[in-house]
Symmetry: C2
Subunit: 269 residues, 2 copies
């Protein structure tokens, strides 16, 4: 029974709360219902090209209030990883400006020249030019190690699937012969730990809700959380025959959560 | 003896005739001496991002006259390959405009949309943007096969090595999971055959001159030509202990050819 047995909710964003620039119908109400029921929640996204501040502002436009520490992005977890394992390092970024903003919010120093960077951080770069690729190439040629916020091949754009971080990674690894040392994003244990740490709960008290079998359900299964797949994003048909990878629940959308939360334990999900 | 035993000269361009925007000292005189001695010659370059017309114009600026059929670029050989093996195909290009110009000079049709392309042709793209990458991604996602003019990782730019075609290829293969079906450039047999066909000579009558052990000397060795390495480009020190890959001659620069050609058989090279 969701209200009595689950205390924390790990909620994916793209394909779960919104899709493209559209809010998923019922998402704000579902999140409001969780809050009314006294549940803790965290938004956990593989987005590495935005900062938490940008994400908070976007959620707010959809009528969803979220505290800064209720937002965990792959850019956030990348920043924390570098703070812990490479304190004082200088980075170069291949990615949209939001990545740099997030890293700077953790006081991580951006190198003045690619040649001086200790790490190259790669994420989606929708305004990429040849010069950006070449700067990243120069960083790695001069010894920068590579960390990627995620390694997704594509994401759903307005006119169809678009090339994602895997393209940016492939350009640099193929031209330098270097390898990516760490891919931060879901379904990694790093992302699961960051979500649980933000919630202050044990895995078995939590449910992860998302649209990706690999990223969201995969992360939940490995970490020991309950899992709910929604069919509003990359997965549009209920998958069959997936044991033991099968999610605990498959819902048409996150809106399902509202009625469940309001049942306050009367209904078993 | 060069003048009596060799009739054809296969001459690399970048690092052999010019380097960056500078002519190699003595190159125009060496080429003029070959012509005076009645030798046939062809310029054979892995450049896929220019057309023969652009190359001819550039050589002319350096005082080197070359007929169109004395120029063979990887873009040229790619065009011929497609004409022969995929007649009537529609292409999409990821590369500088010179590639498209060369393909169009062979009446190869550029698709109106990436989704309609049968082949994606990849070469160096120094004015690349995210949109270019995404269009190429869409072409392959919709079934376009991939051919690359060459697969060099870097080339010497004005401020150091720059990211080359391998980066453009890596972006598309890593994001789509597709593979490149054919890399046209040196040291391929396709390029060797194109050079010999332009000269109208057998391999054992020809000498290939270039700065790359892999591309130029490798091509010559495999095809059965004599080989001369110049130390004005990617190779700056005479390599040692390379048998059987060792070039027949190692020269400080292409200028060496002038005195040899003028000896008219008196000197053994």
């Amino acid at each position: 029974m969701i209200a009595t047995t689950l205390d924390g909710f790990v909620i994916d964003l793209d394909g779960t709360v919104f899709r493209g620039d559209q809010i998923i119908e019922g998402a704000p109400e579902a999140i409001a219902a969780l809050r009314e029921a006294g549940k803790r929640l965290v938004f956990l996204s593989n987005r590495g090209n935005i900062s938490r501040a940008m994400c908070q502002e976007r959620l707010s436009r959809y009528g969803i209030a979220a505290a800064m520490d209720e937002i965990v992005l792959s850019s956030t977890v990348t920043a924390r990883y570098l703070c812990k394992h490479a304190p004082g390092c200088r980075v170069w970024t291949l990615g949209d400006p939001g990545l740099r903003e997030e890293l700077e919010s953790f006081d991580i120093v951006h190198a003045e020249q690619p040649e001086n960077a200790d790490w190259l951080v790669i994420t989606l770069h929708e305004t990429l030019t040849y010069r950006d690729l070449n700067d990243a190439f120069r960083a790695v040629r001069h010894g920068a190690r590579i960390i990627a916020t995620n390694a997704d091949r594509s994401f759903p754009g307005i006119t169809g699937d678009q090339i994602d971080v895997a393209g940016m990674i492939g350009a640099i690894t193929a031209s330098t012969g270097a390898e990516v040392e760490l891919v931060v994003g879901k379904p990694s244990a790093l992302m699961a730990e960051a979500a649980l740490s933000a919630l202050g709960l044990a895995a078995n008290q939590c449910l992860v809700i998302g649209d990706s079998m690999e990223s969201d359900i995969g992360l939940g299964k490995r970490a020991g959380m309950k899992t709910a797949l929604v069919l509003t994003g990359s997965t549009v048909q209920a998958p069959v025959g997936l044991w033991p990878a099968r999610p605990d629940w498959i819902w048409p959308s996150i809106a399902e959560l509202a009625s469940i939360a309001r049942d306050k334990g009367e209904r078993t999900v």
